[in-house]
Symmetry: C2
Subunit: 742 residues, 2 copies
């Protein structure tokens, strides 16, 4: 029994952290070799213990001099500085993008004569000749046909405007897809699946790089302005992550530690929550001072309703939830099928042509319908808003009650006029159009988010249902269900609320992030009043969608691309054991191991050359197979290269040893090489009988990269993160070979 | 190399889960023995895998018949049912408690003649003779002196009222402390430290039991009504937890699995978040239909301000943050010192006397000051509110500007009248009184929370600062800092906002839950507008308080009581290794182990009798010390008892074996006993070189109960949760013997 050995000696500790210290020492002579290879996963435990070492070093140094103290304080504050910078830059970018999108969207229709850089709204806002009722029409703003031919009406002007609208759209999208292809291929898509994967501890070099940061905002503006059915929210998250990465690289605390950079995901310490909060606040303030929405509000769709909702309305709300769930399922299945076809067929080879074609079709079909011609966020805003007295929209064309003398904010239900019926038809067409075109748009090689398109689908459906319920309630207020709450002349149904509920349901069906969703919707309405409708719809939508498949759109894309992402939410409930998953399998060659004191330098070099494993277990001897540690491939390569160059007497036949003391060798043997410093003496082990459920849990919670499998102290095999992911894919009847990276 | 063995055979899986199956089989013959002992920690991994087994069994059964399918659906829904019930019951309790407290607090001063069960407000609300200005005075409400002697004014009436006020207070608190002592000793205190410990996986039988649920609400009402400086929020959380435990015991899914019951803490699955949300919603609706606050609002202090805040005001806000931090530190240190004295001296033996004495002193000192006489929540409400035109409070006694013709909600700054100066003095005295008395009140043997007292301290300090800033700004509006934003006649300082900021700062200083705090304060104000002041104060307060000691009041009480609580927030950064912590220590007797095939029944029984460990490692042989598994003490006891009773041929000299096949024994030996079914073949192991940082992380994240320590496959020792906690206490220079339980 060796219990209690080394209880108070510092030696094992020193050795334990030797790997970390050596890393620093090794980093300098070979600055081009980075800690992890591209497309590899990181080892959270190792990174974390490296950070603790760093922290201890700084703390102990800080007692030496004032200068070191200041340096340690700066180090402690660098997290906050990074957050401040991220907040400032991403807030500014968001504001500028909004302004640019507004201007360019309007540019497709016309131009402001007084100042060409004004959007339609700004143009007419600064004009003195506009009355409040007609605030969309002002002489300074001219459509292209008017400017070029002088005609504002007639078929000729309409066709010319239509033609130029399509031309501008094609130009914008062509520019967008070309910029992406030439300068930053990683700037396409929403970026959310990749960011989820990177945060879970995976290296994709350049994904959050400077080029992406430069190109993505520009192409995003172009893509949104071209009128394609896509949103800017997802790509903005990607842009903000690029900001974060950029500023992290300024501070060695973050640039040299892959776990510290990803602090949010596995280890979510409270202080990170605080800091995110702080960054969001700074960004919000920056955004407010830029004021892109023109209303001093921080939210995109500020809505205020004045009527409560009634229990009976839960029925349509839940129906909207069912619709949202069905839409989510349909969208995910169809979009993934289309994206798979793009990956596997000739289609994927012509991304520019694809974007051009989809833009052309979108513009061609969108222009004739007023609800699809304008930008999607304007559409959502109109659908969310309740009809006030001053509202000039077609949707508010109700037949006025002559003896109405209510205040503006409490307009009773009225019969619908011809404008409303007309709008209903156009909305129904817009709904079908949006549903179909979004499926083909999301996943093209341009920046594209899907918050806005999903919300648009839900808002259109919700508004249609809302108007229907309102008209039924008005015309049949003697029905038993309406009797109690819907007297004639009362304001009992708010179609705008239905639009919001529908939007929440559809967003929930697609992304499955129900809780965050309700919080987002909270932010929009700003009250506890409407949480029940929103929650009812969101939960229904989630249940309905989950019944057809557990994965949201982002998880589906992660799977489609084979990213090694271990979802926290997946519950692994199969009865397999570690022994079923570990390698080597039954008929495989034995595991590549090193022995503690009988391998030569040449053996090690052969092993490194012949295999591509990330590391090798070290055992006492090949006979006993008792595990003593694990050594990283990279450390081994560097250490041997280093020893060969700098240490005299180290030749191919030198014995490599990992023990404290050199092995007893004949005098004729060349000088042995001690490598204990790079040996990880605390590799993670499980027994071969450990249920995979537990193993998955360990990988997830501790962020391991690999785990060794033993039985009664003998080394049997190894399980890597990739093995775990493959096994999980297999258990879910998916192709295990789809897990692509290491 | 035995790699690949049993890759596709189901046998090891069966065996692995054998322990779980046996548990069920063993549970029945000995129904009185429960899975864990009192004051022991639970093993999360084990409980989780038991739940997965249960789930698998139900899922596979559900395919057999319709009845089983219904049962499985009911099982899946039981989580939601429990949440619904919890929401209903705790919402009802909260409402009833509020109404009872209102009535009994007023009972100390007088009685409603029209209906004695009306509180002062309800009494005057139903009276027709009240005008809006004088809504606190109505003939139906009579003070005791008026009722008994007919006099309303004069020294005699005052003394009589004063005397009866103290008498009622003493009666209430005597009842409260007696009920607690006789029926439910666990009902005292706020319960938050204990709940945190229980949620982290610790068993305290009866803490969440029926008696606590019955007695705590009643005594809480009595304690709050007695006028002691304590709040009801913390105890309400305890009561709600009791509701949860009660309803959990109705469903076997929860009642039989200790981890499932605590789903919130270590494993916080998304679905639990959803369910909590749902329960909170149900509770909120129940509460609203009871409507205790009389304003149809769900929040205690509904506030709306009409003026923005200015940058320069951040200086007083940050000063309030500093005050909050200092108050937090002072309170925690003084309160812990007093509680330690109570634990260690004669004082602790007279809890009833202590409560009576503190109540007497509180009532005696509180009555003369109008700000301490009323209930603390009324006080906070008044301090938070801004002065409107109709406000009759002394705090709003400003000198009116004769040419003022502003709307009610935008009253400009005015010079303070004599009432305000008078109020300032009374508030200052109230502040000192509250600070001192709260230190002695929190921790007595009655239900007591400290949200309300902490907020009161902060609100008083904040209001004083706010009025001071307001008056300086009014009288010196030509100073450079006020020039830009504080012109005469403008409304530039909101003293109520200062009170709210102060309350947030003090609450933050005491509890350190800064983020949740800002969210709570959000709920109160309902806008993004004031988040910066609140955040500035809360962060300052946290920094100041953290500079004096990292622990909040709940963590300090956990430590004082020696609960085995492993805080997620504690960062362990010392360089110790597993070998420094594991037992046996250097001079201890060797570890108590079983061998896989050479221990006799008698040996096992001796081992169980002589030691009190929770379980024993099983090794191949005492010579090789290679670990093969771990066996729970309880399983071992039950299995041997069972075998002795039911299995023929098992005698004291029978060999116990844990291998697949029986060992080769001489024919003369009695029949051996196979115990492989109760052997856990996947015990958690770390090497002796593993840094304690990693070990702490593993215990925290995986919720282990114990972990075995090996070197090169040999068993060296064991680390239990208690060892980890002791070591952490030692590293933080605390007494390791303070960790009391197993």
């Amino acid at each position: 029994m060796e219990a209690g050995e080394g209880v108070s000696s510092a030696t094992p500790t020193e050795e334990m952290n030797g790997a970390g210290n050596l890393m620093d020492f090794l980093d300098e002579p070979f600055p081009d070799v980075s800690t992890y290879e591209d497309f590899h996963t990181i080892d959270w435990l190792r990174e974390k213990s490296r950070d603790t070492d760093r922290h201890r070093k700084i703390t102990s140094k800080s007692k030496e001099s004032i200068w070191e103290l200041i340096k340690s304080l700066l180090d402690a504050w660098s997290g906050w500085v990074v957050m401040l910078l991220i907040g400032l830059l991403s807030g500014t970018l968001a504001g500028v993008i909004d302004l640019a999108v507004d201007w360019m969207t309007d540019l497709k229709e016309g131009v402001c004569l007084s100042a060409f850089w004004y959007s339609h709204e700004q143009c007419c806002w600064t004009s003195n000749e506009t009355t409040f009722d007609d605030r969309d029409k002002c002489p300074q703003w001219q459509k292209w046909a008017e400017l070029m031919t002088g005609h504002t009406e007639g078929a000729g002007a309409y066709v010319l405007n239509y033609f130029l609208y399509i031309l501008w759209a094609l130009l914008f999208s062509f520019l967008a897809v070309s910029l992406v292809r030439v300068f930053a291929p990683y700037a396409c898509g929403s970026g959310i699946p990749e960011i989820k994967t990177i945060l879970s501890g995976f290296i994709i070099r350049g994904y959050l790089g400077k080029w992406t940061l430069l190109i993505k905002p520009v192409t995003l503006v172009l893509a949104v302005s071209s009128g394609l059915s896509l949103g800017k929210e997802g790509p903005l998250v990607h842009v903000a992550c690029c900001c974060g990465n950029l500023f992290c690289s300024l501070f060695s605390k973050y640039s040299k530690n892959e776990a510290k950079r990803r602090e949010v995901s596995y280890y979510f310490p409270l202080k990170t929550l605080w800091r995110s909060f702080f960054a969001a606040l700074v960004a919000a303030f920056t955004l407010r001072s830029i004021n892109p929405f023109g209303n001093s509000r921080l939210v995109l769709f500020y809505v205020e309703y004045h009527t409560p909702w009634y229990m009976a309305e839960l029925v349509p709300f839940i129906l909207l939830g069912v619709f949202g769930g069905l839409w989510g399922t349909l969208f995910i299945r169809a979009n993934i099928a289309w994206c798979r076809r793009r990956k596997t067929t000739q289609l994927g080879k012509y991304p520019v042509l694809e974007v051009i074609a989809v833009t052309g079709i979108t513009a061609l079909l969108a222009y004739p319908n007023p609800y699809t011609r304008r930008s999607t966020s304007e559409l959502i805003s109109e659908l969310f808003n309740d009809c006030g007295a001053l509202e000039s929209s077609q949707l508010c064309d109700y037949i006025n009650n002559p003896n109405m003398s209510r205040p503006v904010d409490d307009i009773p239900d009225r019969p619908a006029g011809p404008g409303v019926y007309n709008a209903l038809w156009q909305l129904a067409l817009a709904l079908i159009f949006k549903i179909v075109i979004t499926i083909f748009t999301f996943g093209m090689k341009i920046p594209s988010g899907l918050f806005i398109p999903s919300m648009a689908v839900g808002a259109i459906a919700g508004r249609i249902v809302g108007i229907a319920v309102e008209q039924i309630a008005y015309h049949h207020h003697d029905w038993i269900i309406f009797k109690n709450w819907c007297r004639p002349g009362a304001d009992c149904v708010t179609p705008g609320l239905y639009a919001m509920v529908g939007a929440a349901a559809c967003l929930g069906g697609v992304t499955r992030m129900t809780v965050s969703l309700v919080v987002i919707m909270f932010e929009l309405t700003g009250g506890l009043e409407y949480i029940v409708p929103l929650m009812a719809a969101a939960v229904t939508s989630k249940w309905v969608a989950d019944a057809f498949g557990k994965e949201g759109i982002y998880e589906s894309h992660i799977q489609l691309n084979g990213y090694p992402y271990l979802d926290v939410r997946d519950e692994f409930t199969h009865r397999t054991l570690a022994t079923d998953v570990m390698r080597p399998r039954r008929n495989d060659p034995p595991l590549a191991v090193l022995t503690q004191d009988s391998t030569t330098v040449e053996d090690v070099e052969t092993l490194i050359k012949d295999t591509d494993y990330n590391g090798f277990p070290v055992v006492v001897s090949r006979e006993s197979e008792r595990l003593i540690g694990f050594v990283q491939r990279r450390d081994l390569t560097l250490a041997i290269k280093n020893a060969r160059q700098k240490q005299d007497g180290v030749v191919s036949s030198s014995v490599v040893y990992f023990t404290e003391d050199a092995p007893q060798l004949p005098a004729s043997n060349p000088q042995p090489l001690k490598l204990r410093r790079i040996l990880n003496l605390s590799p993670f082990t499980v027994t071969d009988h450990t249920p995979m459920e537990t193993v998955v849990d360990i990988f997830r919670k501790l962020g391991l990269r690999q785990c060794l499998v033993t039985r009664s102290g003998r080394l049997l095999g190894i399980i890597t993160k990739k093995d775990v992911l493959r096994h999980m894919a297999q258990m879910m009847n998916q192709d295990p070979e789809s897990i692509m990276f290491n």
